[in-house]
Symmetry: C3
Subunit: 409 residues, 3 copies
């Protein structure tokens, strides 16, 4: 049975056999692949399990949109990046990149938790993956951004997409309703589970796509230092910012991971740990400040409701990281003054473009998501009674799953 | 202190030093070993934690029978496969195979959850491991089945052993009692924990024993695609099959992992992802259909009670995988027509034999398990009062542990 | 952006490029690094989550003192071991050793759970890491103990440090208070989560620092066998020691991991599995006996309160392991009689010294910890009202975090 042709694996296999160095990377890649998989499926699922009412929703729907999103992302990425002469090359590396892309969807889902029904989440997953891949394609093809950097835009893209989509689902009664659906000690512990897994595996997330061994090592230890400072700072700031010195779970929830997010872009290029640690601290401060100030103003003024505070956890630290990356880039390249301003501008253009596409596509998705929901409600009433269609829909699980809305008000 | 002789490690160490290729496999093996260990100890333990009353029973007894079963499996496997001239060779690879063998016991324990006491579980573990190793030995020695394939029979063996043993422990009042012991949101979340860990590490489970690098890669990505489709289909089918479109935890519980089970045999040989995805979908459909139809008819007619629905999660998808493997085998080998029918027959004989041994040994185990329980009850009353015996029994932890029954009605 | 200098990574990177053997170790090291990281951050955090009131305290503060302790340990270790000509070399290997050192703090924190406030925990973390590194430095420099062995003293150091510090925080009303704060089924399941993760990854913990491939393999399988016997024995002894044969969670909690702790020193040097299994059994027996006898006498007589029974889980098995290591050392080196007595004495001196430093520094830490708490209470009242200081303190998260006490009575 060993004479099977493997069309799907030529890319990755041909990389394995060349030299010891690539062999090494291949093995490391497999272990890191698992780490990232654990982060996305388990970490994000339980990170958002802190609302006692939405425990199953967050972990279950997280699995649903991650599993669906990965398949869709492999297709879209394959079409945009690896399509040649009618043949699409799919490898294990494609799945890894698809998993990282799907992170954007999971972050957006955090902003919509408790507001969107499964159909809207699936609709969002399909559009967001396509939009993020397009944004990445523009970055890589036209702005000549490295692949690793372009994928690390996933945090800011996911956040702003989610916030824009959340604008459409905002209801005036929401803030009162959410007040009732607070967390309890057990749901906090489940959430802690997710936080810890994300915390532990973040160095793998920031280093998995880097091919150079030395840069990989730098990325791992820099991220570790940054996220360690972040965790300590989260506790310190939470105690300092409350009147009676009590540590608030929401601050731990937002600020612990901020250091890892902020290091996403620059982890492999930071020359010494101290810079990484200061970045981690700054990310944590921004995250707690955001949690204090923005959350109270953003919601009533802009009519945006951010269920899980993804703006504080991923958005602001991601922005800080992007800006820090540009500054670091200027400092490192200071000697070669000729094209410095131009290159720095490209970097700024790159993440600005990502935010713009995120906001734009999120806005459109939210708009059509609301209409879609109504359409499906009418559609499902006529279709679902018919027994034959159930067989048809089962054949296309990516096409029409979860026709009946669940939380749709 | 470095001049210690290592009798126990000659097999694996001699493999390490030959070439880069084996070195590579050795390293990959270690990481995958951990993955499978996590699946068996953690994943299975929490998968069955969904009944709120049996949370600790399922995780604690899972650890107990896994730890005992691995030691026993290493001994039995060593005796059957690696015994030569009075000397038994035990390596890290032996532990890995033992862990996979023990999966059969954990699946059977799922069918008996809440019905069997610790003594019966230990008795079952000892018999089942021996029976599965014997079945595997016949497969490998006489039917010339590959080692990887023979170990993947573990799902169907475990299921049918458990169902046969469950027949003896069936009580008429059981169905009413179980109605009371439903799951609650927190136990569902704990169960979700187990499902997610099994889901994430299933590609490692299906690929860990494959030595060829290219086939390993194929097995990993095929399993990943199949299990991703499975998860999406589980949610879709659950929503479609219920009247109000609500997603039922029991369907997610049964169907999410079906794709991974179905791919067990054929994962390394499937040439393109689409076949794997269709298999994953079919497995999911069969699992949900089984949950709907079989569960309601199997219980009252055949007097079998399947606490955790292992027949839907592992039995039916395992059977589908075995049949799909034969079909795939025929398609691939179509060119060499000469011995095709004979070889296909061998494949069919192989899994039929496994099911037959599973049913037979399970039936006998259940029969004696009931008698054993009564014997131990009488035995323990006379022995346990005696203080000296406690010291004796402590010396043989594998022999007489947990003498006093706990749930024995 | 690839022309960044990496001052911090020279040690580890220069090791990578020399040969295939080191390459192999490097890769294995990365996977094992993650395993140990998971154990320390996740395993210890949830191991101590079994008291229903202190669920968040144990996981949250565990993360806090682990993240802070690792940074501090890297500094202290770098200063003591890798300081030359004003330049300190920090590598990924330094972080690994720091994580293992921090285990001592987490064990001590287990003894103080529910009695110490965050400031006292941070104070303890800072002193304990410095004391353990000093103890290790004396062991390595003067007693010529191997680095791996010196780091495995972490269990006994942590236990006796914690017990000595606990003496100061003992209050007469404590035993009554604790009675009320029992565990419940859900907190037991969370604790089981931690136990399982520690159980699964203990072979990595015992083997991660060993460089020789053959010894590494021995360490992994010996630890696996020992901890498997330990788990089975824990269940058996728990059932035997209770009147009605019920399994008590506290025994599982204490004895399951005892085998792994006991194997810490001798895992790579044990020539056959049977010795490891007997050691695992003995460790489990000692742990359960300790839980029965010592716990009831230690508390009222010595006025020590051991919240999580760390003395039974880590202290006694650690002592057993240290003694077993000396005996094994004598048996192996029996042929070369000349300096045997001297070398054996060094081994005994080594762990006696560790215990002595642990008890001494723990006693002092506990004494000043109480005074420190009062000082900070006065200090924080004057400082915290001042808004400017919050900015200052945020810049030094390792210096003055969590000024306001929380549980301080």
């Amino acid at each position: 049975m060993s004479d099977v042709k493997d069309n799907s694996e030529t890319v990755i296999v041909s990389r394995f056999d060349c030299s010891i160095d690539n062999l090494f990377l291949g093995v490391l890649c497999h272990a890191a692949f698992q780490d990232v998989n654990v982060m996305v499926i388990f970490g994000f699922g339980f990170l958002l399990a802190f609302l006692k009412r939405y425990g199953f929703s967050s972990t279950g729907f997280n699995l649903l949109i991650a599993a669906l999103g990965v398949q869709w992302a492999v297709l879209v990425e394959g079409f945009l990046f690896h399509f040649s002469a009618g043949d699409m090359k799919i490898s294990l590396h494609s799945i890894l990149k698809a998993i990282i892309s799907v992170t954007a969807v999971l972050i957006s889902a955090g902003a919509l938790l408790g507001k969107a029904n499964p159909i809207q989440l699936i609709w969002m997953a399909l559009v967001e993956v396509a939009a993020f891949s397009t944004s990445r394609w523009i970055n890589v093809k036209f702005l000549k951004v490295e692949e690793h950097t372009s994928l690390m835009h996933v945090h800011i893209f996911g956040t702003y997409f989610g916030l824009a989509a959340s604008w459409w689902l905002h209801r005036s009664s929401l803030s009162n309703r959410v007040e009732k659906e607070k967390s309890n000690p057990i749901s906090d512990l489940f959430s802690m589970l997710g936080i810890l897994f994300l915390w532990m595996f973040w160095p793998s997330f920031n280093s998995v796509l880097i091919m150079d061994v030395m840069q990989k090592r730098n990325a791992i230890s820099n991220t570790y230092y940054a996220i360690a400072v972040s965790a300590v700072a989260a506790f310190a700031l939470s105690a300092l910012s409350s009147r009676n010195g009590k540590i608030r779970m929401v601050h731990i929830h937002h600020a612990t991971l901020a250091g890892g997010v902020a290091l996403g872009f620059s982890a492999p290029n930071i020359p010494c740990p101290w810079i990484a640690m200061i970045l981690g601290l700054l990310a944590s401060v921004i995250s707690v400040l955001g949690s204090h100030c923005l959350q109270t103003y953003l919601n009533p003024v802009l009519k945006i409701h951010d269920s899980c505070g993804v703006h504080n956890t991923f958005g602001l630290p991601g922005l800080l990281g992007a800006i820090a990356n540009v500054i670091l880039f200027i400092i490192i390249k200071w000697a070669s003054l000729s094209s410095l301003a131009y290159l720095a501008l490209i970097e700024v253009a790159s993440f600005s473009l990502t935010i713009a596409i995120g906001l734009g596509s999120g806005f459109i998705t939210g708009q059509y998501g609301k209409a879609l929901c109504k359409f499906f409600l009418i559609f499902s009433e006529h279709v679902l009674c018919d027994c034959i269609t159930s067989a048809v829909t089962a054949v296309f699980p990516g096409l029409l799953p979860l026709l009946v809305p669940r939380y749709c008000a």
